[in-house]
């Protein structure tokens, strides 16, 4: 699973990135968390409100600084969906 934390370097985006890192460490799964600061990528995903999160090239949330727990839930749901899909 690829998680992109999107935002051009404002304090909120950094906070969200930290929370995403912490959530990742709690899950024993193959998750890659990257911080994306380039604008064209954000536009491609249709994001307009910072900060945003995209999972596997799809925007799942924007404009909200999710807490570690919320992110954990989002990641879990996504992993479950991905497994059920297969």
């Amino acid at each position: 699973m690829k998680v992109e934390v999107l935002g051009p370097g404002c304090p909120k985006c950094k906070k969200l990135y930290e929370n995403a890192q912490k959530a990742k460490e709690k899950l024993n799964e193959k998750i890659e968390v990257i911080k994306v600061e380039n604008m064209p990528r954000m536009m491609e995903l249709g994001m307009w409100s910072v900060p945003g999160i995209a999972i596997d090239d799809k925007l799942v949330s924007q404009g909200i600084v999710h807490s570690e727990e919320e992110l954990l839930q989002i990641f879990k749901n996504h992993l479950k969906e991905a497994r059920d899909g297969k």
Partner: protein
């Protein structure tokens, strides 16, 4: 921070200490002016003006439902409405420049197109609520109003021109509308939100109510009771946040306010110190830059002085709000009020770093047209303002 960066900073500090002209009288006076200016800001502008304004900005950022506003900037919204909303919503949607570009990209590619998007790109940094409030407070109500009106009408016109020039080669862009903002349904009646916001705004207005020149009439009457009015709205505010808002919301609002303070306050203090050092304190002490240079470059309101202010403002980077102490210093040294407005219109909207970013994703042709429009129109409006008022 890398090791060599630390070393570079140390070398820089050493060189500064080595060559610092501390024995020169005008250097000493400039240093004193610098701290004098800081004291004036701390005493006169921060407690009753800036702090309420920070709470308002925090409330706007935390409570206003951005998704509801973006509805009017989508692909199906009527164009006139899109332009109007884009021109004024800078004050609501974005208080920090880092949020402007994603919104701009979204409106351009997924929403109402290049026109409203450019209108927003301009209005975002130019008319944020903190800047307008502090301009009116420090530089006078007239310049504050001129700045707000100028910025809104600028945004509208620049958007229209951009759409007129580039709108036709845009038809193939796929306008899919915005991704949802995932905001929750309203938690209380709108009237309660309104009372909350109005009490915040009235606290700001009445706490900063100035003493009128003549001791009669409405303004004087309000001045005599302005602390009671402030107190009344403060009680109303406290009642409304505890009675109608949840604990999470209260915390979120305060957190948002603090993050603005953290971001903007240190920069503003830096700007005040630099301005005091360079330009002195109006009527109290001089700075390192002699008045004659300022008067030659931006005194009066000729086409040249306005053009100079416009180009200088466009390239120079002003962190949020720092344009205000800088202008205060410049006005004290004899800058004309035309060029002052020009600088307010061209300065915060553009800077060399922002130009580079904008060019990289708008393309050279569109970006340079936008920069030229801002520079030319600021010059022209400043020229008119300086000569007519």
């Amino acid at each position: 921070m890398k090791e060599y960066q630390k070393l570079l900073i140390l070398i820089f500090i050493f060189l500064f200490a080595y060559f610092m002209p501390i024995e020169k009288a005008n250097f000493k006076e400039s240093l004193i002016s610098s701290f004098y200016m800081l004291k004036i800001y701390a005493r006169e502008h921060i407690l009753f003006c800036l702090i309420p304004a920070f709470f308002i900005a925090g409330a706007i950022s935390y409570f206003v439902n951005k998704g509801a506003i973006m509805k009017y900037l989508g692909p199906e919204a009527p164009l006139i409405l899109s332009y109007t909303i884009a021109s004024v919503s800078g004050s609501i949607l974005a208080v920090c420049s880092c949020t402007v570009l994603p919104l701009f990209g979204g409106i351009w590619k997924k929403g109402a197109g290049i026109g409203p998007a450019t209108a927003f790109l301009y209005s975002g940094p130019a008319i944020n609520i903190l800047a307008i409030v502090l301009t009116a407070r420090v530089l006078g109500l007239e310049l504050g109003i001129a700045r707000a009106l100028g910025a809104v009408s600028f945004a509208f016109i620049i958007g229209l021109i951009m759409s007129f020039i580039f709108g036709k080669d845009e038809s193939e862009v796929e306008r899919t509308g915005f991704a949802p903002s995932f905001s929750d349904p309203p938690k209380r009646k709108p009237i309660k939100d309104l009372i909350f916001f109005l009490s915040l705004i009235f606290i700001l207005i009445f706490a900063t109510w100035g003493k009128p020149k003549e001791e009669i009439g409405f303004f004087n009457f309000v001045y005599n009771i302005h602390w009671y009015l402030t107190g009344f709205f403060l009680i109303l505010l406290i009642y409304s946040i505890f009675a109608w808002f949840s604990k999470d919301e209260r915390q979120g609002w305060v957190y948002e306010t603090f993050s603005f303070v953290n971001l903007i306050f240190p920069l503003l203090l830096g700007g005040v110190l630099v301005s005091g050092f360079l330009f002195g304190v109006p009527g109290e002490g001089s700075g390192i830059v002699p008045a004659s240079i300022i008067q030659k470059l931006v005194g009066g309101s000729s086409i040249f002085s306005n053009l100079f202010a416009s180009v200088f403002g466009a390239f120079m980077y002003f962190a949020t709000l720092t344009e205000i102490p800088i202008l205060q210093g410049l006005l004290g040294l004899g800058m004309g009020k035309g060029p002052a407005l020009t600088l307010l219109l061209a300065g915060p909207a553009l800077s060399l770093p922002s130009m580079i970013v904008i060019t990289s994703f708008m393309g050279r042709k569109k970006a340079f047209t936008y920069f030229a429009l801002v520079i030319i129109m600021s010059t022209f409006v400043g020229f008119l303002y300086g000569n007519l008022f």
